[in-house]
């Protein structure tokens, strides 16, 4: 038996991950030892401080280009950029999660175990403070995402996938209102997530088998080994391609690409809105970060033969997202389909095999994250006595009642529609441009056409808000407390800033757009 040697760890490079995971453990301790009264403040402060600390470490590590922890973790430009993006967006999401003024006691259930729709459930919905366990759960998820975008072998990647997925399943179940819907969403997400994980894991096995078949090399699932095996000897490419397909399926599930998107509308609708925002922004970054790394690092030697297949997936995703968004009647489902369509646009960026494509995709992830969090922030504000009024008919005439928030939401919708002077325009430009240069004109054409279709549902909401008379049932917009306001304004201002002056972030993304191998 060979001696087990501990791999060397670069603690500074791993610091963001360790801070988040450590804070999650700390959060569990806080749950146990801090009195209930102050728990919420402490948890929120700790989580935000941890995110800030991790972000600081990411900035300090900005020049790192290394592989550490054996071959498991790569800290390079894309890792740092995406980790930074996840942390910034997670901070915004934490602000939404921490808000207890919009909904008295917060958006989360006070007692998760009460039977839904029972008298106890109604009582818990009345105003008792919500669970504070959400904070450790969210910090665990953030930690998992940070690992996910840094993972340099498939097993680490799988573990990271589970680390951030499991807390998300739980978080989905914790909505204070409409408990059944929330629980159903969590259940579906969990079942289908487990199903998708199985595909991913099976893919890992096949890839391992492929590398083992390459003569003169040791088998392994780290990306360097896979890369070498792919470029040196296509010994048994059936294994390679089958494995690649299964890996892609696992990742595309998280990215909400068609036909693996089916969970998205139900889960986005059922989950507490702050969590939906967190998923739409951060999970997307993590999933696409992993996709980028897998295809740019591990399978780069395959000559991008798989482009047509993934291109077809991208087109299908855009089509499904755009076409289905047209007939949605619930704002959260509408945003879910918009998120699916955006996954299609992001795939266009992934399939542009150039530095610009990589940087454009990363830029898109950040820009979209800001906008979508701001959108869900507005959704949390439009309420009536029963909680959020998400049915679109209820939004009619909102512009008359609350011109300011309706104006902000209009701006965000215009950004989603890709109108110039918003980040929606610059980010689409950033992914379509390289794709066109990379010879993927058909993807760009599909992207532009579906954008046109998608503009319809967005503008329909705008028209409803501004051109309809407010009815009896038009809810009022709750004037938000500081936390939600902060998140909303950050999102809106970032959407505007990245639309007017995208260069600084684009330069940053371009500077970071190189993987280590």
């Amino acid at each position: 038996m060979t001696e087990l040697k501990l791999p060397s760890l670069d603690y500074a490079a791993l610091a963001p991950i360790m801070i988040m995971l450590g804070t999650a453990l700390l959060g569990v301790l806080v749950e146990a030892f801090v009195p209930r009264r102050t728990r919420h403040v402490v948890q929120l402060t700790v989580a935000l401080l941890a995110v800030l600390a991790a972000l600081t470490m990411v900035v300090l590590n900005a020049d790192d280009r290394l592989v550490t922890a054996g071959q498991s973790i790569a800290v390079d430009g894309p890792t740092l950029f995406l980790q930074g993006a996840i942390l910034v967006l997670a901070a915004m999401a934490l602000l939404l999660i921490g808000d207890r003024t919009v909904e008295r006691g917060g958006a989360f259930v006070a007692q998760a175990a009460v039977t839904a729709e029972s008298a106890d459930d109604r009582k818990q919905a009345e105003g008792r403070n919500g669970l504070t366990e959400v904070y450790p759960l969210v910090t665990f998820a953030i930690g998992g995402m940070l690992i996910f975008v840094a993972a340099n072998d498939l097993l680490t990647m799988f573990i990271a996938l589970e680390v951030f997925s499991l807390p998300l399943y739980l978080l989905c179940a914790l909505a204070r209102r409409r408990r059944l819907l929330s629980q159903e969403a969590a259940m579906k997400y969990f079942l289908l997530g487990a199903y998708a994980s199985a595909f991913f894991l099976f893919g890992v096995a096949l890839i391992y088998g492929f590398t083992a078949g390459v003569p003169g090399r040791s088998a392994g699932v780290d990306f360097a080994t896979i890369n070498a095996a792919v470029s040196e000897s296509p010994a048994s490419p059936v294994l390679l391609f089958a494995g690649m397909a299964l890996l892609a399926i696992g990742l595309l599930f998280k990215a909400a690409a068609a036909p693996f998107h089916v969970w998205t509308p139900d889960v986005y609708q059922g989950a507490p809105t702050p969590v939906t925002g967190f998923m739409a922004a951060c999970t997307k970054v993590a999933a696409f970060g992993a996709l980028l790394r897998v295809f740019h690092v591990a399978f780069e030697g395959g000559g991008w033969d798989f482009t047509p297949v993934l291109g077809a997936v991208a087109v299908l995703t855009m089509l499904v997202g755009a076409v289905l968004a047209v007939t949605q009647t619930d704002i959260k489902r509408l945003l879910a389909y918009s998120s699916i369509a955006n996954a299609g646009y992001l795939l266009v960026g992934v399939l542009a095999p150039s530095r610009d494509g990589l940087s454009g995709t990363m830029f898109y992830l950040v820009a979209y994250g800001f906008s979508v969090l701001a959108a869900f922030a507005v959704v949390t504000l439009v309420r009536d006595a029963d909680g959020e009024a998400t049915h679109l008919s209820r939004w009619a005439g909102l512009g008359r009642r609350s011109p300011f928030y309706a104006g902000l939401f209009t701006f965000i919708l215009l950004a989603f529609a890709g109108i110039p002077l918003t980040s929606g325009f610059t980010s689409k430009f950033a992914v379509f441009g390289p794709a066109l240069e990379g010879g993927q004109a058909w993807l760009v054409i599909a992207g532009v056409l579906t954008s046109m279709v998608l503009a319809f549902p967005y503008l329909r909401v705008v028209v409803m808000m501004w051109l309809s008379e407010p009815g009896e049932s038009t809810p009022t917009v709750t004037v938000p407390g500081g936390l939600t306001s902060a998140a909303l304004m950050i999102g809106v201002l970032a959407t505007l800033a990245l639309g007017v002056a995208p260069d600084p972030l684009l330069d940053l993304a371009t500077g970071a757009a190189e993987f280590v191998r």
Partner: protein, 641 residues
């Protein structure tokens, strides 16, 4: 023709020629923005602005005279900088621009002064002066720009001001219609000019005058021809030349000072300016010159014939403007030294035509806005000043020695006879015939208005002379009509030689007839025409329309040009519009709505796949997974390569 223009330093006053444009513009803005608050003093601000511009223009003119290189270029800022296209907001003050500045501000000032009194009883006087100032600013920009885009800028500006002023009494349907007509017909010409500028940029990469003119030699003949024809189209639109002449007589619906300044003295000569300015382009292609000459000759005859059949005093003057600008086109088309002759005629015409329009305004002022010359007669005893000043204008326009028209028009006739082939007879003959016809119809106008028996409508008992503020400009302009021609014809051509290609090489060919014979001939036809008219109309005319022969009927109907316009452009245009609306409603909207319905329907159907059952979700994921797997393996097998 490679010529490098040497520019002098823009020092002293010449550095501030931009004020020429800025002063009237600011005044216009003040008058428009202050609204009714400026009603009491607004007109004086308008007059003062033009007066200041005139003083500045005069001073700049004298400073320019003292310079060795008589061209000053002033680049103010980058106007447009997109890709390869760079357009300066730049001004060029050279001899050609200088004479135009003098004309616009000088005559403009007198007409502004006149309008203070003429518009005194009109509630919209402040608005009138605002538009009037706007016009002057745009017109000055037009002549001062140092590239075609600046020219176009001013060109559109004067078009706008012209539209606003023709429709100044927008309550009258005829005025509103006339404004629209002018605007639309100008649009046809403007489009030609715009495309011409695009061609310049496409082939030469610049719109700066000097760079364009240096580059013309490198262009193919066809390009130059197309470019020149497009510029000519623009010029014809603005100057009321064939085939775009129909708007100008209708434009008389505007107040009389507008007719005098815009539709006689300045704006309508912009086309002549454009061709004179672009002389290197027009001189580069003889076909082009032939077209210009033909347009000029045809229009000058048309104007004379129609003018002879009209009874509205302002319309007769308008058609005479069309005809006189025809002379100018003839001049600029002849090329060489005749460019300068055309400019001289333009300046002289600016004086005597403004004089006569203001005189007509004075008559209308005294006759309760009557415009029908059959209803005048015998006014010479009642309106002495108007009569005498109008007489100066009349003698000037018919080219009687020693009035200005003689010195400015007769050289053009001579120059037309100097062409080298048989066309000398054609165009020279047309010009000569035109001189006789001009004498005829202008004498008819003069005699019917001021002499013969009174044929007034019953409500007029004692027509009065206009107040001092109106007669003083008349007198000053009359002095110009008398003396200007001689002064201009000797000094201006020399002065204009400093502008590249204008003047200089005069008379390359001998005229087909000796100079003295031609001069005598033109005087003879003038006297004949005038005498005939005097003889026919000395006893007045019937006050109702008389049956007439084919020619007169045709002339009364503008030689059927309106009917042609209607049949060739308006009817097909309306049909095209209807067809397009139909196509849009049925075809394009149908397609768009159909597509939208298709998407909506597809969406509704696809929605049913989203059942909410996790088992069916799992199934669809599995199906998708199988497809993706199959596709990947197909890629591996090379089927999708």
């Amino acid at each position: 023709m490679e010529e490098t223009v040497q520019y002098a330093e823009a020092t002293g006053l010449l550095g501030s020629v931009w004020l020429l444009v800025a002063i009237p513009l600011v005044s216009a803005a003040v008058l428009l923005l202050l609204g009714r608050r400026a009603d009491r003093w607004g007109h004086w601000l308008g007059v003062a602005a033009i007066g200041a511009a005139f003083v500045l223009g005069l001073a700049s003119f004298f400073q320019l005279r003292g310079l060795e290189n008589k061209s000053v270029e002033l680049s103010l800022w980058d106007f447009i900088a997109v890709g390869d296209l760079r357009v300066d907001f730049g001004l060029l003050f050279d001899p050609l621009a200088a004479v135009f500045v003098m004309l616009i501000t000088g005559v403009g000032f007198l007409i502004h002064l006149y309008a203070v009194e003429y518009m005194a009883h009109d509630g919209g006087r402040r608005r009138f002066f605002a538009y009037f100032n706007l016009f002057v600013a745009a017109m000055l920009l037009l002549v001062l720009g140092n590239n075609y885009v600046m020219l176009y800028f001013g060109w559109e500006g004067v078009g706008l001001a012209s539209y606003l002023l023709i429709s100044f009494w927008y309550g009258r349907p005829s005025a509103a219609t006339a404004g629209k007509k002018a605007f639309l017909m100008n649009r046809v010409g403007d489009t030609g000019l715009a495309i011409g500028i695009f061609i310049m940029f496409a082939t030469l990469g610049t719109t700066q005058y000097d760079e364009v003119f240096n580059g013309v030699g490198a262009l193919t003949g066809t390009t130059v021809l197309v470019l020149g024809l497009l510029l000519l189209l623009g010029a014809a639109g603005k100057s009321g030349q064939f085939p775009l002449q129909a708007w100008l007589p209708d434009a008389m619906e505007g107040p009389t000072p507008v007719s005098a300044l815009i539709h006689a003295a300045t704006m309508v000569t912009a086309g002549v300016y454009l061709i004179a300015r672009s002389n290197p382009i027009f001189s580069a292609n003889s076909t082009l010159q032939l077209v210009v000459v033909s347009v000029g000759a045809l229009t000058l005859l048309m104007g004379c014939i129609i003018g002879a059949a009209k009874d509205d005093i302002k319309r007769v003057l308008a058609w005479s403007t069309v005809s006189q600008i025809g002379y100018m086109f003839l001049g600029v088309g002849l090329g060489g030294g005749a460019y300068a002759l055309a400019i001289v005629h333009l300046l002289a015409h600016g004086f005597f035509k403004a004089n006569m329009f203001l005189g007509a305004g004075s008559v209308m002022h005294g006759m309760k806005d009557q415009v029908d010359i059959r209803r005048f007669g015998g006014l010479s005893t009642y309106m002495k000043v108007t009569w005498l000043t109008f007489m100066m204008g009349w003698l000037a326009i018919i080219g009687m020695f020693p009035f200005s028209g003689f010195f400015s028009k007769e050289p053009i006739i001579v120059a037309a006879f100097e062409r080298e082939d048989w066309t000398a007879w054609l165009f020279g003959g047309a010009a000569l015939l035109g001189a006789g016809l001009t004498a005829f119809y202008m004498t008819r106008l003069f005699v019917l208005t001021f002499h013969g028996p009174k044929r007034w409508t019953e409500d007029i008992e004692h027509p009065h002379e206009s107040p001092r503020l109106m007669t003083i400009p008349l007198i000053l302009l009359a002095v110009g009509s008398v003396g200007a021609g001689f002064l201009l014809s000797t000094s201006v051509p020399d002065w204009l030689t400093a502008t590249a290609g204008l003047g200089g090489e005069h008379a390359e060919h001998e005229a087909v007839l000796p100079h003295a014979v031609l001069t005598t001939l033109s005087l003879v036809v003038t006297v004949l025409g005038a005498g005939l008219a005097w003889f026919l109309f000395r006893t007045g005319t019937a006050t109702a329309p008389q049956p007439a022969g084919i020619l007169v009927t045709a002339a009364r109907r503008n030689l059927y040009t309106d009917a042609v316009n209607e049949a060739v452009f308006e009817k097909p245009g309306i049909f095209l519009t209807r067809a397009l609306v139909f196509l849009d409603n049925r075809g394009i909207d149908g397609l768009v709505n159909g597509l939208a319905a298709g998407v909506g329907g597809g969406s509704g159907r696809l929605r049913r796949l989203q059942t909410g059952f996790v088992r069916s979700y799992a199934t669809s994921i599995l199906a998708g997974a199988l497809l993706v797997m199959a596709a990947f393996l197909a890629v591996q097998a090379g089927w999708l390569a």
